[in-house]
Symmetry: C2
Subunit: 334 residues, 2 copies
């Protein structure tokens, strides 16, 4: 049984290029004691993957050269030597950019294909959903009447942050790239406003929606937009550092937020987190996210691309902003 | 009765220069209904004064051109039309760089000259003491066994932060400029270690005292040292933004902390504050600080300079690092 895979061939400098990858087809090996064989249907493409490609200490070890590229996946168990999993179970797990994955089962979670489309377990019911949920509610401590500003508002995490803010009685103001994304964020997702950072009138356009300042800024992008948000904080505001996609492919030093001293002026805080910090509370998060989704209060949008062989080019859409919704790779044709 | 004063003549660009000041002598006017006349003995010279000289929105309005320069002071009431204050009362208040001040009494606090030297009410029992107290205990949430790193460790606030950390059962590691200051911080104040940022081996010297990482970083200086601290944070670390003296006289843009993404990696937070946020709890802070001082657990060090006419030059010692202890200006010869 052939298994198509993408392996990391070299550590990228700046944007990953074709020569940083190796496309391999190898036979699936037999599973050993306690192991589970998963037929992978979909892989999640996320900005965090760029960080995993760098060497150095982080919240998770880097992907090694020659290793299958790490990625969240959903699929179906087709063979199991593990009593916790049987053929026909649907699971999510970090099995990487390949068509079959073998796991000890420890990192697999059963998912319910009747509750939702399985690809949603890579999005609104997966890491992006949990990131938005714990980031906004726990780190951001959002409360009724707050103004929540979120960058990457049309993206996998940002789109959920604004919707959850609305569910909690806060105002949601998004920042996204382009008028189509902004229209989607307001018209389809129900944000109170969305401002196009690519527009020449961006700063002027922010004025009206932020006239009462920012209570929570949920940052997915870093760079200049983080500084713009810091300058508009209210007293006791919370800045949630979720990502910094504008800086991930930098070959120059990261741009530090020059306006950080406004934290002092406003007695505000800036706090970072990764969703793995909340692993023990995932079930609680998925349950509430699924309820909101079922009630029609929380919309999920998937940007599906097909063809594992196209992975390198599809990944780049995250950094060019071409994706519209949660970027998911369909890794098989059947 | 002549009153020597320093007034702000121009908004400084970079370090304040002589032409930014006007030295004036004017007669003390008669006090009106409800007013109090205070003979000022000492004025507090603090890094925050540099910020008050800039135009623009901050946590406190800027000093206006032509106004007496704002400063904390201690002195003695010599005339009063206010039933709350009588001649002979010692008080602290923000009466500015002058020899006599007139107040409605609202901003005056009675101080006890028998409890401590009155200049200590500008230091360990004044704003610097309260800044260290609330910044470390409330914002920094220090707990037993933590490693607390503090910059400006020989300064008015930093010297107290490390001592309070020790009182609370934490390890205190200071950063200060020069071997004399570092020796003082360790030998006299009892910090566990102090590292000289002017030394060529600074980064190497930090390794041993920070081998278990940083749980609380109390930042008085900003700039490169903030980045160095951010790189060494432990999980759930707290960065207390108290000041950024390295950046106050910048004519170039402020240097933002490039390593802020380590907040994400370590699920850490960076929070700013100004001591005025805690005005309602000052009495609680002064009481505990005075007790620790009386018990010999908390040492105060004053760097006293005489001569109101020398104010502009003496203020600059804060920015060159020449002061050694809380910088206080004696504003009269008698």
């Amino acid at each position: 049984m052939p298994n198509k895979q993408y392996r990391l061939a070299a550590r990228p400098v700046g944007l990953p290029k074709d020569s940083d990858w190796e496309f391999v087809t190898e036979p699936v090996r037999d599973i050993g004691e306690g192991e589970v064989l998963v037929k992978i249907y979909y892989a999640s493409l996320d900005p965090a993957m760029r960080g995993w490609m760098n060497d150095g200490k982080s919240y998770i070890p880097p992907v090694q050269i020659g290793e299958v590229m790490r990625a969240g996946t959903v699929g179906e168990v087709i063979a199991s030597n593990n009593p916790d999993f049987g053929a026909g179970d649907f699971v999510s797990g970090t099995l990487g950019i390949q068509q079959y994955g073998i796991s000890t089962g420890r990192d697999l979670t059963k998912i319910d294909p009747d509750l939702s489309l399985i690809e949603n377990y890579l999005g609104g019911l997966g890491m992006p959903g949990l990131t938005a949920y714990f980031g906004l509610l726990d780190v951001g401590a959002v409360k009724e009447g707050d103004t929540v500003l979120v960058s990457g508002a049309a993206g996998a995490v940002g789109s959920l942050v604004g919707q959850i803010a609305r569910i909690k009685g806060a105002r949601a103001v998004g920042i996204a790239g382009g008028s189509a994304k902004c229209a989607y964020v307001v018209d389809d997702l129900g944000f109170d406003a969305c401002v196009d950072y690519k527009s020449e009138t961006f700063l002027k356009d922010l004025k009206e929606p932020l006239k009462t300042g920012v209570d929570v800024y949920f940052d997915n992008v870093g760079g200049e937009i983080l500084d713009i948000a810091l300058a508009r904080l209210n007293r006791h505001a919370r800045v949630v550092i979720c990502g910094a996609i504008s800086q991930y492919n930098n070959t120059k030093p990261v741009r530090g937020p020059q306006n950080y001293m406004n934290l002092l002026v406003q007695h505000a805080r800036m706090e970072g987190f990764v969703v793995f910090d909340y692993a023990k509370r995932y079930a609680e998060g998925v349950k509430e996210l699924a309820e909101w989704h079922a009630e029609g209060k929380l919309k999920f949008k998937t940007h599906m691309e097909a063809g594992i062989e196209n992975f390198p080019a599809i990944l780049l859409k995250l950094f060019s902003g071409e994706n519209f919704g949660k970027l998911v790779l369909k890794v098989r044709e059947d």
